[in-house]
Symmetry: C2
């Protein structure tokens, strides 16, 4: 067995029959949530940690589904026995959000009203809707109060939303590489990603499953755009520089390694992710604004919170820069909430939050050691 | 008449019959160059300034083509009577580069070998090829030595290439918001732009004119990607922030102003620019490496130059950041070449080089006042 791993895990699914009303006005009459758990829930259900995933994430955060899997879950660097989110102490819950494409109800699911797949008619979720669904999952699992809600990027937005929406249901909120809302530049990148998907003739206005087509090229392009924004300029320079791709092509056709890398990443992604889900997820990201109900006042917003906060950022992250994290910290301080903050030196840009960077793991570990299980 | 304007101008065209050999190994047997001139060439032909355009630029740099034109040429902020590039003192030449789509021979021109449009079969130009064509235009106009060669972005790369390729044919080299070569991130953005164009079914592998199609969506997307990289995060924030587009649509469909702005810019561009030209221009940009013939040594490269240099950068430019300009300056200093440098405080990102920013104009003006006509 792999060292420090939660080992072989199997997803579980829960069915919900109580309608879930989305902020957009639409609702889901019934829905499924797929999730994984690692570790054991203690007798008082006080040691549960919720993991919230980012844009293209899912429930499989740690361990392996099969012995032969070469890659573990997406946050295996942080979750496992003896790791910062220590499964010997904590009961870890990681779900796929509604609107996703990895097993929870989403655009590829059947719409019970029509008997056909939802496709583009799936209700547009907001971060608050995901948090509501996560709260119902907590109810189902007998968890009144999370020891911590943790997330990076879009996951960090869910963690912050938890602290305002259900202030009595979490003791710690860990917000990694996030922001209280997207900048115009962030939105612009997402809009290009959506436009790439929607202008692919295979998208068929979102009804590609019904039409038997796939917006493969558009989704690949969308992922390429995202990928650039996850990596720092420096990380790209050191990984690829201006190296040409080896090959027997003439000088004219020869391409840079970064080009073939991005194209490969885009192609891989487009065969594994649903285009309508990607559109929904990026829209939820764009529309998130923690401060909107408080007239843009982040201090007034965080005054609603009653948990402890850990905020982390990465030095070369230009998608959600350290400055955006410091805005969160400043608002928390002004709201007189307990907050710890660390800016981690890392070359890897926004992607750093997924990587086993020693100081990052050490800070997370030290913080969670102080969190009672 | 508009104040400080060169007024109504008309492009001229020159036909060349001597074959031009491109660095890629292909050649053009004959070609046209379209250009504009502003001001008067003096008796000794010592007062000529060459303007080199950037990615999507062209020969129309100053003045108006028609009385009713609302917008002047793309660099009217800098070129005109009493402006930094003062047409009362200088004879200014601005051309459209080969491979462009504004009148010089390019992919939409007829291939004399086949009688059909070149389309994707147009030879891939390099910056050096453009400089060679520009040198022939100088010959034709009786200009042995430019008082200055000036360019921003890809234009600045041409100016630097002049200083190495024809060191005796320019007295001053003005390099604005440029770099000796692109970073992996720069290349990645260009690759996404090309991929957007090429994956549009209307592209028809470049033969869209023959097929009667147009890769309109792809070209629009390509421009949207470019546009984000020209603007700074701050400029986007102050111009658009998170403002929603006014409209009667429901909350779900309502979009941010930045989204409709980018889409509008993309659509405008896609009706005015040729997709094959865009592919060629971005490839020339990616492949440019001033230091390649010198084993990557910029100091060895600039040792070939014998002119004076002015290097300018803009504080919020993240496409070609001030750090990239300082690399040029450091190499020039190490090569013991005379160089002036200014980093201009400007919120507008890479786009700043086109804008009438007072300190920028003042620095350019002061430098050019010392350039003898």
């Amino acid at each position: 067995m792999r060292e420090n791993s939660v080992g072989i895990v199997s997803p579980r699914s829960e069915h919900f029959d109580e309608p879930l009303n989305f902020a957009c006005g639409q609702s889901l009459s019934t829905y499924e949530l797929i999730f994984e758990t690692y570790g054991e829930l203690n007798a008082t259900a006080s040691n549960a940690i919720l993991i919230c995933h980012a844009l293209s994430g899912h429930h499989h955060a740690a361990g392996y589904h099969r012995e032969e899997d070469r890659k573990p879950g997406w946050w295996d660097a942080c979750i496992g026995p003896g790791k910062p989110i220590d499964t010997q102490r904590f009961f870890v819950v990681s779900l796929n959000n509604l609107g996703g494409c990895h097993g929870s109800t989403g655009p590829t699911s059947e719409n019970p009203q029509t008997g056909e797949t939802f496709g583009p008619d799936f209700p547009q979720p907001q971060v608050d809707d995901w948090v509501d669904a996560q709260a119902r999952l907590a109810d189902r699992l007998g968890i009144d109060c999370w020891a911590a809600v943790v997330g990076g990027s879009l996951g960090g937005m869910q963690a912050m939303a938890w602290s305002l929406r259900y202030p009595d249901r979490l003791r710690h909120c860990i917000v990694i590489a996030a922001a209280t809302k997207l900048s115009a530049q962030n939105i612009a990148f997402n809009e290009i990603a959506r436009r790439a998907i929607m202008s692919d003739p295979g998208f068929a206005e979102g009804y590609y499953l019904r039409e038997g087509t796939q917006p493969t090229q558009g989704l690949a392009l969308a992922r390429m755009v995202g990928h650039i924004t996850y990596l720092s300029d420096d990380a790209m320079a050191s990984r690829f520089g201006r190296e040409l791709q080896p090959g027997d092509a003439g000088a004219e056709a020869q391409e840079f390694q970064i080009e073939s890398y991005l194209r490969y990443q885009g192609q891989q992604f487009s065969s594994a992710f649903d285009a309508n889900s990607y559109v929904l997820m990026t829209r939820a990201l764009d529309q998130f604004d923690l401060t909107a109900p408080y007239e843009g006042d982040a201090v007034a917003a965080f005054t609603q919170a009653s948990c402890n906060f850990l905020v982390l950022s990465f030095s070369t992250d230009w998608r959600f820069s350290p400055a955006r994290s410091r805005e969160i910290v400043d608002a928390l301080l002004a709201a007189e909430r307990p907050v710890s903050y660390a800016e981690i030196e890392a070359d890897e840009g926004h992607d750093a939050f997924l990587l086993p960077i020693p100081r990052y793991l050490a800070v997370l570990d030290a913080y969670l050691k102080r969190v009672q299980g």
